[in-house]
């Protein structure tokens, strides 16, 4: 205690802020592991027990961790591994192999990676020798030689498990599950996936060898838990160098979470998605605004950040179009209204636009056909309109059928926000039929 008293020196504000930024950024961006997994204690215990049985008793197991994106699957697994490796006995008895479905896109690459990570004899330096068949036979032989009592157990972690199911014949999965079912070297296969129907992807023979043990991580927090999470994520730990600053910071976070407008914003985010990663993005945007000039997060920051998160990207893009392009979009909207969503081509759009010009007798927008064509192609580049069929070479450009990828409400909203929008264009957009 006395030691901490001595340490409690007052750092200048700039340094404190730098410390805060560093600490919180690591938490929010780098997905730093928490000391205790929250809300998933049961799953944590289950998985820890299971892996311990493999590591200590030499029991072969297979398990799937299933949950939506951002639900904390990797976090859970990493926490379990950290706790598991804390034990001396496990540490010297467990080999780990980490595979990722994004990286190991076929079995050949995966097999090389396994041999490399296990440091088997055909690895020299960092290179693996042998063909796929040789590697597989070698690996299976190595695993077969082992038995429950004597050999070290191997933990296979397959991240993005569903991508492994798309490999040819699912050879890798079959062999891994097969080893886990028979009396060979003890292995544990842990699959991590976000697909709930992942078992349907497996072949029958692979499926029958899988233990059907699944851990579901359906994060379903209540709103109060959600707000608590915000608070814990933003709070500084006790071992922060300047304790006075930390206290002030934590107090400010607490008042922030109590604020009415903040609660409204958080409720909105909670309603749109409950996963914590989108929350982290929001908090990261808030955190980035903290500087020496304003050393605390204020409700206004959170409101701004939330506005940034919820901004409609297409409306943003519509804002930057030229007036000619906007007119073309309105013409397309009218065509969609009249012909009930039938595809259109450039000639029709031009015709619709010409009708508007004739009625208004305003020569201001009298452009040549090629100029309009250029505007039309720009819209296509932005993917605001999309060709119906992709056989572009066969038909002339002006007769290629297109579809509008925008909603009427989006167009109307963009029109309201458009800077210096001419009144007649606005009226034309409002009028229901042409």
């Amino acid at each position: 205690m006395s030691k901490r008293k001595i340490k409690a020196v007052h750092l200048p504000v700039g340094e404190c802020i730098a410390q805060v930024q560093e600490m919180l950024r690591e938490r929010l961006c780098h997905q730093q592991l928490p000391d205790r997994p929250e809300g998933v204690e049961a799953q944590h215990k289950h998985l820890l027990e299971l892996l311990k049985r493999t590591a200590v008793h030499g029991e072969s197991n297979s398990v799937l961790i299933v949950g939506p994106r951002g639900a904390g699957k990797t976090m859970l697994l990493q926490c379990v591994l950290r706790d598991l490796l804390g034990e001396q006995e496990v540490q010297k008895n467990l080999l780990q192999v980490h595979l990722n479905g994004l990286l190991q896109t076929d079995d050949r690459i995966a097999l090389k990676e396994i041999t490399r990570q296990l440091h088997l004899e055909n690895v020299v330096g960092d290179k693996v020798f042998g063909s796929f068949a040789e590697n597989l036979a070698f690996l299976l032989e190595a695993l077969k030689k082992g038995d429950r009592s004597s050999s070290r157990s191997v933990l296979f972690v397959l991240d993005e498990f569903d991508l492994f199911a798309h490999h040819k014949n699912q050879t890798l999965l079959y062999n891994l599950f097969d080893v886990s079912q028979s009396a060979q070297a003890p292995i544990a296969v842990v699959g991590v996936t976000c697909r709930l129907d992942v078992l349907e992807l497996l072949e029958k023979r692979v499926k029958s060898r899988f233990s059907h043990r699944q851990i579901h991580l359906l994060s379903n927090p209540t709103f109060t838990e959600y707000v608590e999470r915000v608070q814990t994520q933003l709070s500084l730990p006790d071992d922060f160098p300047d304790s006075k600053f930390a206290q002030e910071w934590n107090a400010s976070v607490q008042t922030l979470c109590g604020d009415k407008s903040v609660e409204e914003v958080l409720q909105r985010h909670f309603n749109s998605s409950k996963d914590f990663r989108s929350l982290h993005m929001l908090l990261m945007l808030c955190l980035s605004r903290v500087s020496v000039a304003k050393p605390a997060i204020r409700p206004a920051d959170l409101l701004d950040a939330s506005r940034l998160c919820f901004a409609d990207a297409k409306a943003n893009m519509l804002h930057g179009l030229s007036i000619l392009e906007l007119c073309l979009i309105i013409a397309m909207k009218h065509l969609n209204d009249v012909y009930e969503g039938e595809p259109f081509n450039m000639q029709m759009v031009h015709n619709e636009f010409k009708k508007f010009l004739q009625r208004k007798s305003n020569s201001m927008y009298n452009f040549e056909q090629p100029v309009i064509m250029k505007a039309f192609e720009h819209l296509q580049q932005l993917e605001l309109i999309r060709p119906v069929d992709s056989s572009s070479a066969k038909t002339q450009r002006e007769y290629q059928l297109m579809r509008l990828m925008l909603d009427n409400s989006q167009i109307m909203e963009a029109l309201q926000k458009y800077p210096q929008c001419p009144t007649d264009v606005k009226q034309w957009a409002m009028s229901a039929f042409g």
């Binding site: 994004l102 605004r289 030229s322 081509n345 040549e368 800077p419």
Partner: protein, 445 residues
């Protein structure tokens, strides 16, 4: 003027230099800086920046990364035709050419991550490394795993690295089926008219006053702003037409302050530029030459589209005319148009306009070869034998892409064609053979 950029992690004079190079983008640069944080701090794993063309996306990032001397790799997806080039570029800029040479011949993502990790353990990041990927929309067309892997690269290589994606297309069109690590979305808004004016006025000519140039820019924007908001295009047009704007001044007809006269002089010229240079009908070199030769009227030089006129043999012209008529007229009206003694078809009956939209809106319809030949014999006055040369002319019209063959199921037996030429083109052709095509078109009755 906004407050200058401030960040504790970087020297003030550098930030000063940065903000000088980024007119009208202080807000975005400040936001990016605050997201990046101090060099040694972690930044968000992936940032997605979208905005219109020439809204300063790459420029802002480039200036920031360059001036603040942050370790970065710039990759353009247009150049990287294979992922190997992308990997090589990244490794080369982070770890030097030794690391890049470690890549095998056709590297997979797994190889890249392995080599990256290996290098990283030898030289760990003291500062955040940035990978800046331009034209990121092309990533969607490559390997399906590449984009999700890049988005969570920080987690995969366990390094302090941030991937910045730049694109014109919104993020919603990128998201893969099974989802991915969501990047932080940032929007670069378009420049307003005032901002465009401010930026364009910066590159004024030294021999003229600033007000003079900015009044020129004002006139230029007045003509082009409703069509084009692309800064690069506008800058190009401004550079091309400035000499014409100065002409009356050099001749001593007007003074610099006489804005109205200058406007009267330049406005028709700019309108002409929209139809020619803006569409790249006339190249900028030609345009400059045209401006020097005063006596020659602008636009007298034939543009690219005027050159589409091709010399065809006599029968080919008629074949093309027949094809155009077959494509744009409904088959039931053929009797009325082409049979000489077609008996009585009442005009009211014939002109039932139940087809509301004309064929010139919907585009050409396919027709069988028989109908083409029937119309052909009817429009050619003289007697033509169906020789091999006639048929070979049809297929050569297909190779010239004036006709297109519709279905490829049968080459010889009853092929179907479509006519792929424009109205202007066919009118020009029929004028050369003294054929009044408009009389025979259903749409123009």
């Amino acid at each position: 003027m906004l407050a200058p950029l401030q960040h504790p992690g970087y020297e003030e004079e550098r930030l000063q230099r940065v903000s000088e190079q980024l007119p009208c983008r202080e807000v975005q640069a400040g936001m990016l800086l605050s997201l990046m944080g101090q060099p040694h701090q972690y930044s968000y794993p992936s940032i997605f920046i979208y905005g219109h063309r020439a809204s300063g996306k790459s420029h802002v990032l480039h200036v920031l990364l360059k001036e603040l001397e942050l370790p970065h790799a710039t990759v353009s997806c247009v150049e990287c035709v294979s992922v190997a080039l992308l990997f090589e570029q990244v490794l080369l800029s982070f770890f030097g050419c030794d690391a890049a040479s470690l890549l095998p011949r056709s590297p997979s993502l797994s190889d890249f991550v392995r080599i990256y990790r290996q290098q990283r353990s030898q030289s760990p990041a003291k500062q955040t490394r940035y990978i800046m990927i331009e034209k990121a929309e092309l990533l969607r067309d490559t390997d399906a795993n590449l984009l999700p892997a890049l988005l969570r690269l920080q987690e995969l290589v366990e390094d302090n690295v941030t991937v910045i994606l730049l694109s014109e297309i919104v993020w919603d069109k990128f998201r893969p089926n099974t989802g991915c690590f969501e990047p932080l979305l940032l929007h670069f808004p378009d420049y307003s008219k005032g901002e465009l004016q401010q930026i364009l006025s910066q590159d004024r000519h030294p021999s003229y006053s600033a007000e003079f140039y900015s009044s020129y820019i004002n006139i230029l924007l007045g003509v082009f702003y409703s069509v084009c908001r692309d800064l690069r295009e506008l800058r190009h047009l401004a550079a091309l037409n400035f000499s014409k704007f100065c002409e009356p001044l050099a001749e001593g007809k007007v003074k610099e302050t006489d804005t109205h006269k200058l406007w009267r002089n330049i406005e028709p010229h700019l309108k002409k530029a929209m139809q020619t240079v803006y569409l790249r009908e006339v190249s900028s070199l030609q345009w400059e030459q045209m401006q020097q030769m005063e006596e020659k009227e602008n636009g007298a030089v034939r543009g690219l589209s005027a050159h589409t006129h091709v010399e065809l043999p006599y029968y080919s012209k008629f074949l093309l005319i027949a094809a155009y008529l077959a494509s744009y007229n409904p088959a039931r009206t053929d009797k009325r148009f082409f049979v000489k003694h077609h008996g009585k078809i009442r005009k009211t009956n014939f002109l039932k306009k139940n087809e509301k939209t004309s064929n010139h809106l919907l585009g050409p319809k396919p027709f069988p070869l028989d109908r083409l030949l029937a119309i052909f014999y009817s429009v050619v006055d003289s007697r033509v034998a169906p020789t091999a040369s006639i048929f070979s002319q049809i297929s050569s019209l297909v190779t010239l892409q004036l006709l297109t063959q519709v279905s490829h199921d049968d080459q010889l037996d009853a092929p179907k064609y479509k006519c792929a030429v424009s109205m202007d083109f066919i009118c020009a052709i029929s004028r050369t053979v003294n054929f009044e095509i408009v009389k025979y078109l259903y749409d123009f009755l």
